[in-house]
Symmetry: C2
Amino acid sequence: MKVFKTIDQFRQWRRNEFLEARSVGFVPTMGALHAGHTGLIDHAKSENDSVVVSIFVNPAQFAPTEDFDSYPRSWETDKIKLQEKGKVDAVLLPLIAEMYPSGITLDVSQQQGTFVHVQGLSHQLEGKARPHFFRGVATVVSKLFNIVQPETAYFGQKDIQQTVVLKALVRDLLIPTTVRVFPTLREDDGLALSSRNAYLSPDQRKHANALWRGLSAARDVYLSHKDSSRDEILGAAQKIIDEVSQLTQCEVELEYISMASPETLLEVGKAVDGTILSGAMRIGKKGQLVTRIIDNLILES
Amino acid sequence: MKVFKTIDQFRQWRRNEFLEARSVGFVPTMGALHAGHTGLIDHAKSENDSVVVSIFVNPAQFAPTEDFDSYPRSWETDKIKLQEKGKVDAVLLPLIAEMYPSGITLDVSQQQGTFVHVQGLSHQLEGKARPHFFRGVATVVSKLFNIVQPETAYFGQKDIQQTVVLKALVRDLLIPTTVRVFPTLREDDGLALSSRNAYLSPDQRKHANALWRGLSAARDVYLSHKDSSRDEILGAAQKIIDEVSQLTQCEVELEYISMASPETLLEVGKAVDGTILSGAMRIGKKGQLVTRIIDNLILES
């Protein structure tokens, strides 16, 4: 497993893969690796000759109020996990200064340089809570794809809007990379694996699966009666999360719950197979550390 | 010379160039080819194994009020010129629907899909007269680079802000392509070659070199006294264009004249070697066809 801290050195390695006609699968990450990431590495290795993992906590996708500084960074642990995995050929650990040659500040109004925006898919759902988040994601993924030039890139369904945005990015900009999406990995109680779960106290952790339980209940309503109304479906989710919210004296709070089209990510009145149920939930008392939990599922009979 | 009307067929040709380790030089154009374009082809051929020319009139860089519909399209003549040149290996003539898979309308507020914006270099000079022009340019060039994957791309200095924007695009997005810029080619009287010169009436054509004569006079002021003030330098250009404007009863009108930094494209108070003098001039009576002439030079002792 080769570790590259400069883009130039990585490009030399990549050039050799081209010359030897070896296909490259790519798993971009922000580090703090868990089984969700290593599962994607398994898929990448089974479909490609070589696997590249990048670890880069991307400033452009954090708002000034968010957790850029405190986001978990654990390269030594990550490195051991990747080595044990034994399936990664190259790790790219680029510096912020190399990734943002025109500089980068978290204040969007002050930013200079090149940014990539996917209009129509970036303003709703997660984009409503985090207005410049997908601009940051589309920009950094454009950069990473230009460096790694992968045949295929691997993403988890947990960030489902991200996967829709990135598929549009690749299609619109005619990037010669295929985006593959794999199901969310979960703890035994259903909580989706996430690097930010590390923020949860033991007590918060007990209630953190409320969003998943809510989404699952909403799915059950759809599966039992396909003609269920939007209110009946989403109401089932809302009810479960409200109960937990009361139980925990508002330490758990639903941020949004959505039933949306997989193509436009706009809200729909009627569910069909393929419709996305998604939501975000906050855990933590105001004034203290608040953790956002996001989750989703795709309706399927 | 192979001509490709679909991106897939072009990509097959490109794949073979990769496998044979042949370097590719790229000259993106909007067609209506003149000696400025064929000069860039000469440079591309002298520096690469293969040369690709694209011809695509890019809707995203035209405002609804501009000449997208009437922009000169002359593929049959262009094809003969390219064949006679004998230096072009592949021509890419993509369809709008393939270049804009999410669709494209000239009304920016209605646009959907992925767009690339170079902040800080797109709002001044030409970007002031044409607010979304460089967003359109950066977006289409990103797409073309992802299709053609050239080692080197060739541009004329005539569109100097475009070259600064595209160099920033390539640097910021870490695109593995080198941007090369070559001097503007000119008619005997100094008028910069441009596809839009075809719009000029014989009488307008006689006065069309006023901008270049103005810029040259401004340069002479700088060269004779390095300490000349901004007003002295730009005043020399203004004077010549004003004279022509009076002579032609305002059929010729200066739009702007600029003395700017080559890095930031912001106006400077003091000229030094490397400073860009540029301007835009309109020819044509109001209510009739108005043609914009742009030109520039880089100060150099």
